[in-house]
């Protein structure tokens, strides 16, 4: 297993002048860590992974794996294993041969290959499928074979490119658990790419959120949830999305508050913001509370009962708002609810740059990229 270090790694498909698919990406992945790259499609997460694998060249920057500079090396000399979104199993080879292929190519001894393939098959519950061809397998089984193919190689690094995207919802949860278990058991360095924030939150020791080739924020899942570095991260992590209200900061009433139309919400003093500045106020739907006596009234437009919780969609002083409450059976569309914004749960962002005004730095190992 190994530590991965990316220093100012950039990738442009159009030459040295950009446009940049990945722009000055710097990250240290610790030995045995599972880091998730997450972001919308086209954000550069897969490209970064492919550069680590050696499938795409870097335009600039250096990549080291286990202290060894691998920037110019072909994939085979990096000792990495990769799992692809569509599994990329060799269709004419049996499950056994798919898993054995990488070892055969490397000239391992026959008994050693057999031992490793059977061990991997046992750990992934594939023993009864070893003689089958990929087309005779279900999606979940194919994904396990793809994992097995990576496993037998005993690589320094596992790279997983949206491995669960082609599976149905139930299977996705199951495979997610299997990958988490596998990671815990092997203690392997893994990089997992996904566009699904739930996968990112549940799997990652650390999450790197990307957009337009830039790291938006990197940190532990709950750090990203609690202290998003900008409006993009705030909107991306958490479901339903954080409520964002554009307004202006004012201290006219003697305390700092955000005003937006008829709405005014008092905020704590811990901010860089100045009075008069255009800001975006953020609060997560699950942090809104019903508080009798609150002057803020939300008109409910839609109620969604999902079991343990009740999702509300409504308007508050002309702003669309989402709220998540513990199960409340009696709320109906058209109801007016007194809503309070707990001040310790508020987020404040600069309206122009989107950057958080609440804190100086993230808890992650790298600083926040200034949002262009």
């Amino acid at each position: 297993m190994a530590r991965i270090s990316l220093q100012n790694v950039s990738k442009s498909f159009g030459g040295d002048q950009g446009p940049w698919a990945v722009n000055k990406f710097s990250l240290e992945v610790e030995d045995g860590e599972l880091v998730v790259f997450v972001g919308p499609s086209g954000c550069g997460k897969s490209t970064t992974l492919r550069m680590i694998a050696g499938l795409d060249d870097t335009t600039s920057g250096t990549i080291t794996i286990g202290g060894r500079d691998v920037t110019g090396l072909p994939p085979k000399d990096r000792n990495v294993a990769m799992v692809f979104q569509n599994y990329a199993l060799y269709p004419q080879k049996s499950v056994y041969d798919n898993m054995a292929f990488g070892l055969r190519v490397r000239g391992e001894a026959k008994q050693e290959i057999d031992r490793r393939v059977r061990a991997a098959a046992a750990s992934l519950d594939l023993e009864s499928l070893l003689h089958r061809k990929p087309r005779q397998l279900s999606g979940g089984q194919m994904q396990r074979v793809a994992l097995g193919r990576a496993l037998v190689r005993d690589p320094d690094v596992f790279l997983l490119d949206e491995p669960l995207s082609n599976l149905d919802a139930k299977l996705r949860v199951k495979m997610r658990e299997e990958i988490a278990t596998l990671h815990a058991r092997l203690g392997a360095t893994m990089i997992f790419v996904t566009h699904d924030q739930v996968e990112a939150m549940t799997l990652g020791d650390r999450i790197v959120i990307m957009r337009d080739g830039l790291i938006q924020q990197a940190g532990k899942p709950l750090e990203l949830y609690d202290r998003p570095a900008n409006t993009f991260v705030a909107g991306f992590i958490g479901s339903p999305e954080m409520n964002l209200i554009d307004g202006q900061l004012s201290d006219a009433s003697g305390r700092l508050e955000v005003r937006s139309g008829d709405l005014s919400v008092g905020i704590p003093e811990k901010t860089f913001a100045r009075s008069g500045q255009n800001v975006t106020l953020g609060i997560r739907p699950e942090h809104l509370v019903i508080s009798n006596g609150s002057p803020l009234e939300m008109t409910v437009n839609l109620v969604e009962q999902i079991g343990a919780q009740t999702y509300l969609m409504g308007t508050l002083a002309g702003h669309k708002m989402r709220a998540v409450l513990q199960r409340r059976d009696e709320i109906r569309a058209g109801d007016k609810l007194p809503i309070a914004f707990p001040s310790e749960r508020l987020h404040l962002f600069d309206s122009t740059s989107g950057a958080s005004l609440r804190m100086a730095q993230t808890g992650g190992k790298i600083g926040v990229m200034e949002n262009a």
């Binding site: 694998a53 050696g54 499938l55 072909p74 994939p75 085979k76 990495v80 294993a81 990769m82 692809f84 569509n86 990329a88 199993l89 060799y90 269709p91 004419q92 080879k93 292929f101 990488g102 190519v105 490397r106 061809k133 087309r135 193919r149 190689r153």
Partner: protein
């Protein structure tokens, strides 16, 4: 219902038309092989199996069969090997790729007669292009048409020139169906170009190659125009194949029954070989390796 009936009518119509066009002459030829006739006008006389016995006892028949197999096999091997190679080059991205692809397919558009005339003009032993080129460096020119080896070689060469583009086109289409991620997975697994070729490209082209080899095999084994135009089966029957033999017997020696017998045997042989081939290499993907 009306539409259903119309579809059935169209179906029956086309089947009967096909049966008439293909089945009619076939049955007539097979029937003819049991008669002896000097021309299509004269009244044929029942001959039983004597045409077949004569043909099978004739060393010329066996010679033609061997020639046909030699020419067909060597030209298919060359067409497929070259075709796969050229298709792989054309499948890479490079400047002028579209132009190169168009040029590569061009020979396939040439009528056989034109191709043969060009080949004869190039190889003509007294004033051909090769002759003058060789003369300029002081080397003499062999009369290719008077030696068995060079005559066969010329037929194979021209057929490779004419029909490799067919293989290129099919293989190029096949190559594009192989997912690039398979190559990426193999690269990460540590496979070099050669290993990738044998473990991904060739298995990925399997279905295409089975069909291409089958079609080229049938067409090469039944090839008449090219051989007749280039050598007429000569020198001394050294490039005689079953189709030219059948033609020679029927239309030059006016032995219609004998010609029909050769054609029928040729048809049966080819059908048998195709059956065995398809049993060994089923085109149906799902049956592979089960």
């Amino acid at each position: 219902m009306v539409q259903d009936r119309r579809i059935v009518a169209l179906f029956i119509g086309s089947i009967s038309l096909l049966a008439f066009i293909i089945g009619g002459p076939l049955i007539y030829a097979v029937m003819l092989s049991f008669y002896s006739a000097r021309s299509f006008m004269s009244e044929p006389e029942w001959a039983g199996l004597s045409n077949y016995i004569k043909v099978l006892q004739d060393p010329l028949f066996w010679n033609s069969l061997t020639n046909g197999l030699t020419i067909a096999l060597s030209s298919i091997v060359l067409q497929v090997v070259l075709g796969v190679g050229i298709a792989m080059v054309l499948n890479k991205r490079f400047l002028g790729q579209t132009v190169a692809r168009s040029i590569a397919i061009l020979p396939y558009f040439l009528p056989t007669v034109v191709a043969c005339l060009v080949a004869q003009w190039v190889l003509e032993p007294n004033y051909g292009l090769v002759k003058s080129a060789l003369a300029s460096i002081g080397v003499g020119m062999l009369d290719w048409s008077s030696h068995a080896f060079t005559a066969k070689g010329t037929i194979i060469l021209v057929s490779v020139w004419l029909w490799t583009p067919f293989v290129v086109t099919c293989v190029l289409a096949g190559l594009q169906t192989i997912p690039t991620q398979l190559y990426e997975a193999a690269r990460v697994d540590g496979a070099g170009a050669w290993t990738q070729f044998w473990h991904i490209t060739i298995p990925g082209l399997r279905s295409v190659l089975i069909v291409v080899i089958l079609l080229r095999g049938i067409w090469m084994f039944n090839k008449f125009d090219l051989i007749w135009l280039l050598t007429k089966g000569g020198p001394l029957n050294q490039t005689e194949t079953l189709p030219t033999l059948a033609y020679r017997k029927s239309f030059i020696e006016y032995n219609l029954g004998g010609g029909a017998a050769v054609a029928t045997i040729s048809f049966l042989l080819l059908s048998g070989v195709i059956l065995i081939y398809l049993r060994l290499f089923p085109i149906d993907d799902a049956k592979q390796g089960r």
